[in-house]
């Protein structure tokens, strides 16, 4: 009984969110808009508790699979739930719920009209459902479909405000993201031709026997995946769409895209590289060295670009490029600490960047100023919001007792284990640069004397609650990381195919 519930919950998380997404416009027609919004928040909360339950089950009883529609593996689509899925489901729930709560306060005013707001709810839930799908799926073509749903939904929520700049940014994003999915599909085609399978476990079995016969073809195929997912998750030289798209969207969209959407593609990349192809093969190919190198370049270059921006949201968008570099660096390191660091950074960057974007959105909305040089005195006008921004900044820099420290510490251990001292330098340098581009915002907001006396802004209590929820998550992960860290290292162990450590 309990097992049947657990197995069905895996697919229920995705299906429930998908069906909620499509009844949103209908619900706003027959009930008050508030009802639809709270229903969406409640569904996301349920998804979060489902994720926590699944992660607990996976930790206690090991991984399990679910055959969709009752068709067993080589013919049907198989969902395979391991610690990676559990970890990412929890991340999605923890971040998406407060973002939705924050958005619910003034969504109609932000996007222009009631019907647009209803469709925004649909797209938001579709994006979350697609990300959950990426977390649980064990089938390559299913990954492609979920990636496409996520791409189209995230393009559409960039254009939610319907003004000239955001529509232009959306078009640029859509073109580059479609090139990315073209590469991904080509890579899937290559793997299908090489192995005759689309199920990742079957591909792994097939490749472990036969990959030495066609190393070049496999290498080409993996480069397709790297470029495809690299474009979508804004790996450094392929990041050109990100600053425009993330800085012109409304605050909840930016928070959602920067914190979760790009992570979904990274999880897909991890699954293809470490589950379908397998750690044994990946670490023998030069692709991990390339990922390490690109990650290091991204950390430094993204941070330098961020320093040059005066617009607050653009600075945060470039900071995302730098932080994605940390995640790819961990993937490239390819050892247990590196991958644990990758997972921890996925969680800590998701919570932190969501907090920063939401707080920045509130600051910009209530003061009407979007440039950092104009933000003098904002700290006195809205102390709680800017205080939350300060917590986010400290976590982003990697100060101990905040979640950013835990992930960067793991990455540091991973670099030392590989003897990669350049990576150690880059990690420390990236943190210093993060301090250099985030602390001036706080100095401006708290310590600069404003031209006129600041008016105390009334940020709604619901939005403050959403910000405080993220603050609590960041600090509690930073102070007591044990449980999350165990889940993350379990996920890393599962990817590397190691025996579970006692």
């Amino acid at each position: 009984m309990a097992l049947a519930f657990r197995d069905n919950l895996a697919v229920l998380v995705v299906v429930a969110l998908l069906s909620t997404a499509y009844i949103m416009p209908l619900l706003t027609k027959i009930r008050r808009f508030r009802v639809a919004e709270y229903f969406a928040v409640a569904m996301l909360g349920l998804a979060l508790s489902g994720g926590i339950y699944l992660a607990r089950e996976i930790l206690l009883h090991g991984t399990f699979t679910y055959a969709v529609g009752g068709w067993p593996a080589p013919w049907g689509i198989e969902l395979s739930l391991d610690a990676v899925s559990g970890f990412f489901l929890i991340t999605i729930g923890v971040v998406a719920t407060p973002i939705m709560l924050y958005a619910s306060v003034d969504l109609i005013k932000e996007v222009g009209s009631r019907s647009r707001a209803a469709w925004f709810l649909t797209l938001f839930l579709l994006l979350v459902a697609a990300l959950c799908g990426l977390a649980v799926t064990g089938d390559l073509f299913n990954i492609y479909v979920m990636v496409e749903v996520a791409t189209i939904a995230s393009c559409a929520i960039v254009a939610a405000r319907n003004d000239a700049t955001s529509v232009e940014a959306t078009f640029k994003y859509l073109m580059l993201a479609t090139i990315g999915s073209g590469f991904v599909l080509l890579g899937i085609g290559f793997l299908f031709v090489l192995t005759g399978n689309l199920n990742m476990n079957f591909i792994a079995q097939e490749l472990s026997m036969s990959w030495q016969k066609y190393p070049t073809a496999l290498w080409v195929c993996l480069s397709f995946f790297m470029v495809g997912f690299g474009v979508k998750s804004a790996l450094f030289p392929l990041h050109v769409w990100l600053p425009d798209a993330h800085s012109t969207a409304i605050a909840p969209s930016s928070a959602m895209l920067s914190s979760l959407a790009i992570k979904g593609y990274i999880i897909a990349l991890l699954k293809v590289f470490y589950v379908a192809v397998g750690a044994k093969i990946i670490t023998r190919l030069p692709i991990t060295d390339i990922l390490t190198l690109l990650g290091m370049v991204a950390i430094i270059a993204g941070a330098l670009f961020a320093l040059a921006q005066d617009e607050l949201k653009r600075r945060l968008a470039f900071s995302t490029i730098s932080q994605v570099g940390y995640i790819f660096l961990g993937i490239g390191l390819g050892n247990i600490h590196g991958l644990t660091g990758t997972f921890m950074h996925i969680l800590s960057h998701a919570t932190t960047k969501a907090l920063l974007f939401l707080a920045a959105g509130a600051m910009i909305k209530h003061t009407g100023k979007s440039r950092i040089s104009e933000m003098a005195g904002v700290g006195a006008a809205m102390p709680v919001t800017v205080g939350a921004f300060a917590v986010g900044s400290l976590s982003m820099i990697g100060i101990p007792l905040f979640s950013g420290f835990v992930s960067k510490w793991q990455l540091l251990l991973g670099s030392l284990a590989n003897g990669n001292y350049l990576a150690v330098l880059v990690l420390v340098g990236g943190s210093l640069l993060a301090a250099a581009y985030l602390l001036p915002v706080l100095r401006m907001a708290f310590f600069e004397r404003p031209l006129q006396k600041p008016v105390v802004a009334n940020v709604s209590y619901v939005q403050l609650a959403a910000l405080l929820f993220l603050v609590v998550v960041i600090i509690s992960v930073g102070v007591v990381p044990d449980g999350v860290l165990q889940l993350a290292s379990e996920a890393a162990t599962a990817l590397l195919g190691l025996e579970v450590l006692p």
């Binding site: 073509f141 479909v145 496409e148 189209i152 393009c155 559409a156 254009a159 319907n162 003004d163 000239a164 700049t165 529509v167 232009e168 959306t170 078009f171 859509l174 073109m175 479609t178 090139i179 999915s181 073209g182 599909l185 080509l186 085609g189 299908f192 031709v193 689309l198």
Partner: protein, 132 residues
């Protein structure tokens, strides 16, 4: 003729597909007309359909509908064809979304040329005004 070229000739659909893929990406990245970019996307995705269908093809195979009376028939692989139906649906929705965005861009800027849009945007930003 070397062995390499004879194998290329035998597998010409793959070469054709990859050439089309390159043409599609070249079109997206180099043309500034937004409609041509959308056409480039469709060329690129079409090339992937060719690759998949060619991978599932068996020379002399027939459509995969099981015929109990004739056991000598060989069938083509049905899976890639089913997958590419999904692929076509995805590509149609991407095309629809991008055409809708082009319509909006034309309303805002009065042009469908990416360079022209960039020029207008920098001009307006320099004047400190917002585009309505």
């Amino acid at each position: 003729m070397g062995e390499f070229w004879s194998r290329i000739l035998q597998n010409y659909p793959y070469v054709f597909a990859l050439a089309l893929f390159a043409i599609g990406i070249y079109t997206i990245l180099t043309h500034s007309n937004l409609f041509k970019k959308v056409i480039g996307i469709n060329i690129m995705e079409g090339s992937i359909y060719i690759l998949f269908i060619a991978a599932g093809n068996v020379r002399g195979g027939v459509a995969p509908i099981l015929d109990m009376t004739d056991t000598t028939l060989t069938y083509v692989h049905p899976l890639p064809q089913a997958l590419m139906l999904t692929g076509i649906v995805v590509s149609v929705s991407v095309t629809a979304l991008s055409l809708a965005l082009i319509m909006k861009l034309y309303r805002f800027y009065g042009t469908v040329d990416a360079k022209e849009i960039m020029r207008i945007r920098t001009e307006v930003r320099a004047n400190g005004a917002r585009i309505s």
